[in-house]
């Protein structure tokens, strides 16, 4: 008798989602669907608005990584103005973007994922949260909170506020870096570096504990996509698109981001509000690929900062090629934190960093602009068209979680097959299904998060809708 299990809502991710597991007559999972149940409509409601509003408007897509949207939108707007922004502005934007990577990765790793890693998947949900971690592993929890705070403080110093700063504008940034701010940021970096290194050491020591998860959590061959520097280094703010296959072979390289549509296309499914991008060359739904920290570390030839380069080499040694398990998104995230801190320190040392020339002014000169950057969760693409008065007539957004959509569905199915026993509903098993989603740190376009006890109901129904079993918490 085919049945369905529904997990609704999925907790400790950014946004609203639910998971439906379809069971076949033998109680074996036959299909898994990851639904994004929220309608946001950003692409629609920016129509008719002025292009200068786009960075801030688009930043509202998310309360966790507003900076990433800010960057992508600002870059798309730079294109609409047809300007090259002053080099100092470019560097300052990079600092903010990296600070965002650091704080967001810290949130994902320490606040949202570490409870599972530390307390175990089957632990009491009441304790399986950041507060539980704080009780039992105070140093780690404090490190996490501190690291996130440092990232946010850098954003605040530069942009004037922690969340949704309006400092990045079309043509550059709206205020140069002052000596006071430079000093404030510089002073924070050594501590951040220390925490990043300490955490990496701890994680690597405990890696063996999670071998089961590592093997089962979205461990399948896919393509990987992301930005790289012209020399193949790690890049988050600007760069060229590269696609690598599961064996590490480069299939697309040095593609200017404006040509993103040559590489990917988007499909729509009736069960989710989220779009399904896929690799054009492979078609739908075969063109599955992943983005984000794991993908970024899988596509590059080198990182570009000394400490992170070492860690990356070690990371890539695990499987002698691309790391396929989605579980290792966590690992990749820690390496990127290290990179971020190192790179911020390099940028702060630049001799031009305090130049007052931080903005290029122009009227809209092109009617189409595309901005692509790397958000903590992966590549985001903003694509706008404007009319002769600078009002947006059309917009297309592909956000990181969107790229991962197909991969997440695949990951859920894989986990469900491995852990779910159709005859019985177990809290812990369901939590693993959620956890695989959480590996991708999905940003489902909303700033809603839940800590600790979350009302949750899973129903097991027959095809005729008869309620067979239910679990509540």
């Amino acid at each position: 008798m085919p049945r369905e299990i529904e997990i609704n809502p999925v907790t400790r991710i950014e946004g609203h989602a639910k998971i439906t597991l379809k069971l076949d007559d033998n109680g074996v999972v036959s299909d898994a669907l990851f639904h994004v149940t929220q309608f946001r409509g950003f692409e629609k409601f920016c129509e008719g608005r002025p292009m200068t509003e786009m960075p801030s408007l688009m930043a509202r897509t998310c309360g966790i990584c507003p900076v990433s949207h800010l960057m992508a939108a600002s870059k798309a707007c730079d294109q609409l103005l047809a300007v090259n922004i002053p080099p100092t502005a470019d560097k300052l934007r990079r600092i903010m973007n990296l600070a965002q990577i650091v704080q967001s990765h810290a949130l994902s790793f320490f606040h949202l994922s570490s409870p599972d890693l530390l307390m175990g998947m089957d632990a009491n949900p009441a304790k399986r949260n950041i507060f539980g971690v704080l009780g039992e592993y105070p140093q780690l929890a404090k490190d996490g909170i501190r690291l996130r705070a440092i990232g946010q403080t850098v954003i605040e110093i530069l942009g004037g506020k922690r969340i949704h700063p309006a400092w990045t504008v079309p043509g550059g940034v709206n205020a140069p870096l002052t000596p006071e701010k430079h000093q404030q940021i510089s002073q924070l970096m050594p501590e951040a570096l220390e925490i990043a290194q300490r955490t990496l050491v701890w994680f690597k020591r405990n890696l063996s504990r999670f071998s089961e998860e590592a093997a089962a959590f979205g461990n399948f061959p896919t393509y990987f996509l992301g930005l790289v520097t012209p020399t193949g280094g790690l890049e988050h703010y600007d760069g060229l698109l590269r696609v690598v296959d599961a064996r590490g072979q480069i299939v697309e390289d040095m593609v200017p981001p404006e040509r993103y549509l040559d590489i990917i296309a988007e499909a729509v499914e009736p069960y989710s509000f989220m779009k399904f991008p896929y690799l054009k060359a492979l078609g739908y739904p075969q063109g599955i690929y992943r983005v984000g920290p794991l993908a970024r570390l899988n596509i590059i030839d080198h990182v570009g900062t000394p400490l992170a380069d070492q860690e990356w080499a070690e990371f890539r040694e695990m499987h002698r090629g691309p790391v396929l398990s989605s579980f290792h998104y966590h690992y990749a995230r820690l390496i990127e934190i290290l990179y971020g801190v190192e790179r911020i320190m390099e940028l702060l040392a630049d001799k031009d960093i305090m130049s007052p020339r931080v903005r290029a002014r122009a009227r809209p000169n092109r009617d189409e602009g595309i901005g692509v950057t790397e958000a903590p969760r992966g590549t985001i693409m903003h694509h706008y068209r404007i009319d002769e008065h600078g009002l947006v007539t059309w917009a297309n957004l592909i956000i990181a979680t969107g790229h991962n959509n197909l991969a997440m569905n695949r990951g859920v199915l894989q986990v469900a097959r491995h852990f779910v026993d159709g005859s019985k509903i177990q809290e812990g098993m369901l939590n693993r299904v959620e956890a695989v989603i959480r590996c991708y740190d999905p940003c489902l376009s909303c700033a809603t998060h839940a800590y600790g006890q979350m009302p949750m109901r899973i129903e097991l129904r027959s095809a005729t809708g008869e309620l067979l079993d239910q679990v509540g918490r």
Partner: protein, 570 residues
Amino acid sequence: MTPEELQKVAIIEQESQEQYDHRIHVCMAAGCLSNRADLVKQQLEKQIAANGLERRCTVKGVGCMGLCAAGPLVSIQPKGIMYQEVKPTDAPDIIQTLDKAPIERLRCDTAMPFFKEQKKVVLENCGLIDPERVEEYIAVGGYQGLLKALTEMQPAEVIEEVTRSGLRGRGGAGFPTGLKWSTVAKAQHPDGRKFVICNADEGDPGAFMDRSVLESDPHRILEGMAIAAYAVGATQGYLYVRAEYPLAVKRLKQAIRQAERLALLGNNIFGTPFSFNVDIRLGAGAFVCGEETALIASIEGKRGQPRPRPPFPAESGLWGCPTLINNVETFANIPPILRNGGEWFAQIGTEKSKGTKVFALAGRVKNTGLIEVPMGIPLRRIIFDIGGGIPDGRKFKAVQTGGPSGGCLPERFLDMPVDYESLMQAGSIMGSGGMIVMDDTSCMVDVARYFMEFCMSESCGKCVPCRVGTAQMHDLLVKIIEKRATDSDVRLLNELCDMVQSTSLCGLGQTAPNPVLSTLRYFPEEYEALVQAGREREAAGSNGSAMHVAPQLKPNSTQPQAHVDSEVTP
């Protein structure tokens, strides 16, 4: 024109009327006209000609006879027989029975309370004279009041007479007319100009008193305005009439031409130094222009937006000059007050509300039409005696007075005397005189919503409380009617009522909450029932699930194929 000439016109007209044995009056006001009274008149004329009765009979079109519900109305004078629902085909019968017994099947009982309970002051000539002939107005004593004022009284004495009459403004708020006149009389302007404006922009939905007076007895208004102009020292008057009343506009234009021809308007009227001219200004469909300052803006050729008062128009009105604004019915009361004296007028009505009031009786009542009653008459006598009660065996529920600024009064107020103070105390107002009767089929919340929709679309949009407040109140009422409201919505509605009432710029906003407040006060159970129904529906719908995040909007067009949703499954 000299006083003697006026007398002469009157006598000649009276004599020419009396030469006929039968004078057939056909109501040519809008109500009867829409039932083809014009064809009836045509047929009657044909029949007279066919029967060779031209020398004994005359047919004339007259103004409103009041019982609009039974039109077309025809009356035979001097016998005083009245026929109702007359068709053109009835003409031969009517002509042939002139010297015989009246036709019973057409007969309208003039002894019925509808006619007997009324007292006509404003409408005294309505239905009796041909509004298109100034001579007929003069024949029944028209322009005698003006003559008396100009030749026998000082302006101050005229104001004193009006003050003595106790007349209060018939436009809505009931401001003492004498006081208003004396304020304008006292006010000075450097260039010495003053204006008199007649507000004939009758805009209340459900009111047509002014229209009937304008269409049936236009000269009365001109005379009233001229007397007022003399009293306050104005030389120019404006009649601000709704463009939606083309017949009234036509008759007023005609009346002004006639009066000018007879020198009853113009320079040196009756040989005195007093000069007065009247121009017509057309309103263009804005209820708010009933408000004095908005009306002035409109005459000045601007958007009809009110401005804060003080200063009041009496001090600074049209083009900054002192301006007297009264409505049609107020001016219509002036000639008889001058003719008969203020004392006479003050004997009618109650202590604080003198005279009569014209009401447009409509809605769920048998005898709809125009009535005039002395102030102080109980509502019950208006609705059940004059109005003949509720048709179709239904039950009385409420009566709405004062239009969108007024309120709905329930059954227990039926014995309340109709005067300014009592109505105000009960939460309604006299207003311009619309009176809508409702039976038990009417939903009072919907009535409140109806009026709020009216206020919302008529708000000029200048001040925030009225512009946005009425829209918000309207939305809340719709929410209540659609059973989506909660107790907090009703609380919010109450708060908005208070706020809009207290903070709006002009009368429109200040009184817009009245229909809501009065229905909330007298029919709370109807609101409660709708809110309760909403609560029950809510409870039945959500089934206590605290965690549903399913979207209102389903992704794309098709339903999720592989998901069982607790909300979808029954």
